[in-house]
């Protein structure tokens, strides 16, 4: 069975046709529980997200701030396995029909087997993978497997990426480009800096792929700001916080996730609205 890269591409194209940004939500699988995570991601998509990224928790998440680290720890301590992550992808996609990507670090994929992981992710209905510690220079083996199985390879670009590197990265990537809004790890921020807008412009100069912005976006106002210059807005830690704040009350957590997805969804649809 081929992966859903074409579904991902068409959902992003549809958002563009509607003159709005796409909303991409992230949660680690297995958080707060495996089934709770599946329900939370389904709520995200029902509430306003267009695309979801399923995190495969890793013992050493060097690019994640304390919020996602906490969620990863909860999932890992409960014994989550890669097969559980694949089940999450399968059930969320089956329940919603939405594009579902996997986001993780390179070692779990390397250890599981590159070809096997790509095949199993595609078979589960996955649309692609984001591997933020796999630089383009080391990515050829993965890209071949992903292409063969109909999966997108989404690369991350950063404000420090020089133009010639941006061209090299976007030429190798597919699906969309993940533009990190700032130099730092995941987490909510008070504001999204101007360097994100500059990075999106420099990235667009090298590719026709949609450019989605992540890191630091947590509320509707920030989503609206970013949607004014990007093809998509990626939100992770703010969703994790909804579930952490519910402190075990899963229904309250799910309601908060759905509400936030709705607010962010309104934000990405109000692009071009007058700025304050």
């Amino acid at each position: 069975m081929a992966g859903n890269i074409e579904l991902l591409t068409s959902v992003l194209a549809q958002a563009r046709a509607e003159d709005r940004a796409a909303l991409v939500g992230y949660l680690p699988a297995g958080f707060p529980t495996i089934d709770g995570g599946i329900r939370a991601m389904t709520e995200m998509l029902d509430g306003g997200c267009d695309i979801v990224e399923v995190g495969l928790p890793h013992s050493d998440p060097v690019l994640d701030g304390p919020v996602i680290q906490t969620a990863d720890d909860i999932a890992l301590r409960a014994g989550i396995r890669i097969t559980d992550v694949l089940r999450t992808v399968r059930e969320v996609h089956a329940a919603t029909g939405a594009p579902v990507l996997c986001m993780t670090y390179w070692n779990p994929v390397d250890r599981y087997g590159v070809e096997r992981f790509a095949a199993d992710l595609a078979e589960a209905g996955g649309a692609g993978c984001i591997l933020p510690d796999l630089p383009v220079e080391e990515s050829e083996v993965w890209r071949k497997a992903a292409e063969q199985h109909g999966l997108a390879t989404v690369f991350v670009v950063a404000p420090s990426s020089r133009d010639e590197r941006l061209a090299k990265i976007t030429a190798a990537g597919s699906g969309f480009v993940y533009a990190a809004s700032l130099m730092g790890v995941t987490g909510t921020r008070a504001s999204v800096g101007r360097e994100a807008e500059d990075l999106v412009a420099r990235t667009r100069a090298t590719t026709d792929l949609p450019v989605c912005v992540g890191l630091g976006v947590s509320n509707a106002e920030q989503a609206r700001e970013v949607a004014a210059f990007a093809d998509g807005v990626i939100v992770g830690s703010a969703f994790v916080k909804c579930l952490l704040a519910a402190d075990g009350d899963i229904d309250a957590g799910l309601a908060a996730v759905r509400t936030l997805a709705g607010q962010l969804g309104d934000g990405v649809r109000r692009r071009g609205a007058t700025r304050d």
Binding site: S59, D60, Q69, D110
Partner: protein, 420 residues
């Protein structure tokens, strides 16, 4: 070439290993987030420029002689050697360097690189605190802002070194994530670096991490083996049968081994932390028990489960309590040029006490793993054997751990001859 006139800055003359992409055979590489690519490439480029600049070698040489106190001594330890099957044993005394370990060799080199890059802030990870102390020292010397990440467990068992770092003006941050040891300190340092890379150099402390760190850190430590090889030839007229060193990340071991790589008659033996014993699962013997994987920016052996999750290591020694290993060691193991064996906590502690009692030298618990390995290898070789051991650090920092282990606290006279 600067390296021909320098006595102490001795980058690999072959220049063949690693490859341009940073690979030692199948190991190494550069598995880093895009946000760090520019900074890591800048370190590599600046290091190449420094290698070609005689002024860099001259400044480092001056520091090595007049600040560190190089060359370090080579000490024969005959009373200790009586317990090693009668083999002759020589210790390379990196413990006598300023700050008390080999770590200063690499730190001074990278501090000079930091200045050349125009960066004003340095961050580093530390396990036992020896790399942190050396880094804090160099930052005081050069007027650089300094932040040290240290696992919370390690801040407790190496409290003296925390105080030393703070005395030197460094900020010490206790890392509370994961196993709260060296691995997690490195994770936190990487997070800091991503956020502050414009003005910050990550002064990596071992021969792991992304290219160019494995080769760069090794080059600054090559002086250990170059000096020791010359010294032991002068003293004994021949090369040793074996050169031994402890391995956590592997920096003191690669520094000792490298000058002997062409001397195929010299066995190179790395002593890994066997903790409570390999069979208990509580150890940090990465090359003995690990499998190939990616941790902290390079491919090497790692301790991991079937899903590629890094497993929590254990060692009594904070400096060896790490589930990874430098990629060049992984390469040397696979090609058979070096061998690695596990040494338990108990064997290391016995060797620590033995050297203290027979020679008046208190070694670091890390280095005591190599001493315990030497006792084993000496007994295998017999009286004709000649062993070289890297005494990578002194044991002052470990007195609290040793006092608890041997029961040395309390009012009564304790000889430490208890049942441990």
């Amino acid at each position: 070439m600067s390296s021909e006139s320098s006595r102490f800055f001795l980058p690999d003359p072959e220049g063949q290993v690693p490859s341009a992409e940073g690979y030692f055979g199948a190991f190494g590489g550069k598995f880093i987030p895009e946000a760090l690519v520019a900074a890591v490439d800048e370190v590599a480029a600046e290091y190449e420029k420094a290698k070609a600049d005689p002024a860099f070698a001259a400044e480092l040489d001056d520091l090595m002689v007049n600040y560190t106190g190089r060359p370090s001594a080579l000490t024969e330890v005959p009373r200790f050697a009586e317990h090693a099957g009668g083999a002759r044993v020589f210790l390379k005394r990196e413990d006598l360097n300023h700050t008390g370990s080999h770590k200063i060799n690499n730190v001074l080199g990278q501090a000079l690189l930091t200045k050349r890059m125009g960066k004003t802030r340095v961050i580093a990870e530390t396990g036992a605190g020896q790399h942190g102390v050396a880094t804090a020292t160099a930052c005081a010397l050069f007027g650089l802002e300094c932040t040290i990440y240290m696992g919370e467990v390690d801040t407790q068992r190496q409290a003296l070194n925390v105080a030393r770092m703070r005395m030197l003006g460094a900020e010490v941050i206790a890392v509370k994530s994961g196993s709260r040891t060296l691995k997690d300190a490195i994770n936190e340092a990487f997070r800091d670096w991503v956020a502050n890379v414009d003005r910050t150099h990550y002064l990596f402390g071992t021969v792991a991490g992304p290219h160019p760190f494995p080769a760069l850190v090794r080059d600054f430590h090559r002086v250990i083996g170059v000096e020791a090889r010359r010294q032991i030839l002068e003293r004994t007229g021949r090369l040793p049968d074996a050169a031994l060193a402890c391995v956590g990340g592997g920096s003191n071991a690669i520094g000792l081994f490298h000058a002997f790589l062409p001397d195929t008659g010299v066995r190179l033996i790395g002593c890994e932390p066997g903790g409570h014993g390999i069979e208990t699962g509580e150890h940090a013997a990465t090359l003995t028990e690990g499998t190939p994987g990616i941790l902290h920016g390079s491919r090497s052996y790692v301790l991991q489960d079937e899903d590629g999750q890094i497993t929590e290591p254990y060692s009594i020694s904070a400096g060896l309590d790490y589930p990874g290993i430098g990629p060049e060691h992984a390469y040397l193991k696979d090609v058979g040029r070096a061998e690695y064996r596990a040494v338990t906590d108990d064997a290391a502690m016995q060797a620590l006490r033995l050297l203290s009692r027979t020679e008046g030298i208190i070694p670091a618990i890390e280095s005591a793993h190599a001493l315990a390995g030497a006792l084993e290898v000496g007994r295998e070789l017999g009286p004709d054997g000649l062993l070289l051991v890297n005494l990578s650090g002194r044991g002052d920092k470990d007195m609290d751990t040793a006092a608890r282990y041997f029961g040395l606290y309390g009012n009564d006279d304790q000889t430490g001859e208890g049942d441990k």
